[in-house]
């Protein structure tokens, strides 16, 4: 089994994205980064297949950098 890269049908992308952004509201940058890291760890804990986890980590690590310097 390898990493799923296709979008599941009917996935509520905009709602999920909104919730992810809301995680950072009224928080310092450090707190927001911590929340994201905690989310990643929580989600990893739901996955039994460790090879998927390692594959995802690898992909995320080697992604081309996104955009210009952050705001």
């Amino acid at each position: 089994m390898s990493l799923r890269l296709e979008a599941p049908q009917g996935f509520p992308n905009d709602d999920i994205y909104e919730k992810l952004i809301a995680m950072g509201l009224d928080r310092s940058d450090r707190e927001a980064r911590q929340a994201v890291a905690a989310l990643v760890l929580l989600l990893i804990n739901q996955i039994d297949n460790l090879s998927l986890v390692y594959e995802a980590i690898d992909m995320a690590r080697t992604l081309p950098s996104g955009g210009r310097e952050a705001v």
Partner: protein
């Protein structure tokens, strides 16, 4: 008499901060004289005193933009004595609201205005989003089946308003007063008095009802001291209409971090007359006058148009997004529609103009019914109940698009960057790219008028849904559309039933509003009387129709109720309750 805090522009559907046009100076409010092939009309101002100037009117509409014109046309068609005032004498400067949604075109079709718009407008079906040098998303807007109109028609607001004004000329009962500026307003329990300035003199008129369609900076709202809650974002954009005969494909292109511009975003969308709408984001702290300087604009457009120099910048302006909403779209005898009631980011997927037209569509038949004494006044409360939840949804969706386009924090920027990077290698991430979603189909989910389903039906075409159009044919084989058959009256659409039986039964019931009957049958089914053929089976599919299925449409073409069998008393009760007669037909019959 309450007076507005400051004069505002009656037709400010956009959120323009500054406006420049390639035109001689001296025109009112920097209106261009010509934009591409479009020559700005000057509508006739009638000097005072003219015999009709004062007096009392059923409805006064303030603001002759696309919303005010649509509403006034609908009212005039229904025979309502209506005055439309505007502080200018021409149409909007610049393209502004360019994405006319399918539902909007259907509304204008009902009003007899859509044909020239359809001829003039164009439609693009491909779109691309780029990140740097990479294309991260390409999509096709598939033509939606069952409608004569595409998902949207790209047509500049000035053309829309021009065609609407042309339509008003066919409606002698509609009194449009150009260069009439509202200066004050006084509301009592019985009516509204409006103070109006003209180039010659000031005067007052009285109205039973007033509709404020005077834009985001509504003079009416200001005069009544009503709040317009929300926020103004920091992000600034330059917007330009550029004429260029380039043979670029008719496609929408959106760039994040474009390689040809040192800014965050650029948008390029085709319009008719070889005009391209181009937006680019500028630094919030930038000197706006400098950003609009012709040499700089020229340079930027040249790069956005792949180095071409054979173009002309016809109109250029800047805007800042605002998200605002009134807490009620009705205040006593005054209603708010369009940008006067709600304001969304222009990147909201064409929500601003389109939802304003839906406001007009929703309000017109209710006002007419009350003015004509066919409905209880409380029907007018349903305008806010039905339309404000839609505005709230549009506002929420618009915020999501805006947040993706212009992230407001490091945290948000990180997700934005991650999505765009991931989208290059992982298709699922493309679905997170949000440069403006199409507005949701405006189902009136919270309508107090709708009759809840008692029979088993799928969710599609549920009560509150705007008509789902489908092709039909008359008995002699002429093609027609469902949208041509419903609207203006309450309309019973029955399937597979003898037309004369349904029509006859409806004539027997007593309702203070016209109820028409439309009979539809499966293609090939033997038909007697005036029955329309469901030539492609689209009606049966979309409405889950079998023999006896009955839909009741409102005058604004939304589904009021649906049943598996036709029962005239059920129809009578539904219509009477919709008109505000709480106890239904029995109560109404007794009146």
């Amino acid at each position: 008499m309450a007076r507005p805090e400051a004069r505002s522009e009656a037709r400010s559907e956009g959120q323009s901060d500054h406006e420049h046009a390639a035109l001689p100076a001296g025109g009112r409010a920097r209106r261009p004289l010509k934009l591409g092939a479009f020559v700005y009309p000057r509508y006739d101002y009638r000097p005072l005193p003219h015999p009709d100037a004062q007096g009392r009117y059923s409805v006064v509409v303030v603001g002759a933009g696309m919303v005010g014109l649509t509403l006034a046309i609908d009212l005039a068609r229904k025979g309502v004595r209506c005055v439309l005032i505007d502080d200018n004498d021409t149409v909007s400067a610049g393209s502004r609201s360019i994405a006319q949604a399918r539902r909007t075109m259907e509304i204008w079709s009902r009003l007899g205005c859509a044909e020239p718009m359809q001829r003039k407008g164009i439609s693009w079906s491909r779109g691309h989003t780029h990140h740097g040098n990479d294309t991260v998303l390409s999509f096709t807007v598939f033509p939606e089946g069952g409608s004569r109109f595409p998902s949207f028609t790209s047509l500049a607001q000035y053309y829309v308003e021009h065609f609407l004004v042309e339509r008003t000329k066919e409606l002698p009962g509609l009194d449009i007063r150009w260069l009439n500026r509202l200066t004050g307003l006084e509301m009592t329990a019985d009516g509204v008095t409006l103070a109006i300035d003209t180039p010659d003199a000031s005067y007052r008129i009285e109205a039973d009802w007033v509709v404020a369609a005077d834009g985001a900076k509504s003079t009416v709202r200001s005069a009544l001291g009503l709040p317009f809650t929300g926020d103004r974002l920091q992000d600034k954009f330059v917007i330009a209409d550029v004429r260029c005969d380039a043979d670029f494909p008719f496609e929408r292109n959106y760039w994040f971090d474009p390689p040809f511009y040192d800014g965050n975003t650029v948008l390029r969308v085709p319009q008719s007359d070889s005009i391209w709408r181009i937006d680019w984001q500028i630094d919030p702290a930038a000197d706006v006058e400098r950003e609009l300087a012709p040499d700089l604009v020229q340079k930027r457009v040249e790069r956005i148009l792949d180095g071409r120099t054979d173009f002309e910048v016809e109109w250029v302006s800047t805007y800042t997004s605002e998200h605002r909403l009134m807490d009620n779209f009705r205040h006593g005898r005054v209603f708010f529609a369009g940008d006067a009631a709600h304001q969304f980011s222009p990147f909201g997927g064409g929500r601003g103009g389109n939802s304003g037209i839906q406001d007009a569509d929703n309000l017109a038949w209710k006002l007419a019914a009350v003015v004509e004494g066919r409905a209880v006044e409380s029907l007018l409360d349903s305008y806010d109940h039905e339309r404000r939840p839609i505005a709230e949804r549009n506002l929420a969706d618009s915020r999501k698009s805006t947040e993706f386009i212009t992230p407001k924090s490091h945290h948000s920027q990180a997700f934005h960057d991650a999505v765009l990077s991931l989208a290059k290698v992982a298709p699922f991430a493309k679905a997170y790219i949000n440069t403006g979603r199409f507005a949701v189909w405006p189902v009136l989910e919270t309508s107090p008028l709708s009759v809840a389903d008692v029979d088993d039906f799928p969710a599609l075409a549920r009560p509150g849904t705007p008509v789902l159009d489908c092709p039909l044919a008359t008995a002699d084989g002429r093609p027609t559309w469902l949208t041509d058959q419903v609207g203006d009256d309450f309309v019973v659409v029955s399937y597979g039933l003898p037309a004369d039986d349904v029509a006859g039964a409806l004539q027997e019931i007593s309702i203070p509003f016209p109820v028409r009957s439309v009979a539809i049958a499966a293609a090939g089914q033997a038909m007697t009387g005036r029955v329309l053929s469901d030539v492609e089976g689209a009606f049966a599919r979309q409405y889950d129709a079998g023999k006896g299925t009955t839909y009741l449409f409102r005058p604004d073409q939304h589904v009021l109720g649906r049943w598996r069998t036709f029962d005239p008393q059920t129809i009578a009760r539904a219509v009477s309750q919709a008109l505000g007669y709480a106890d239904g037909i029995e109560q109404e019959t007794a009146r």
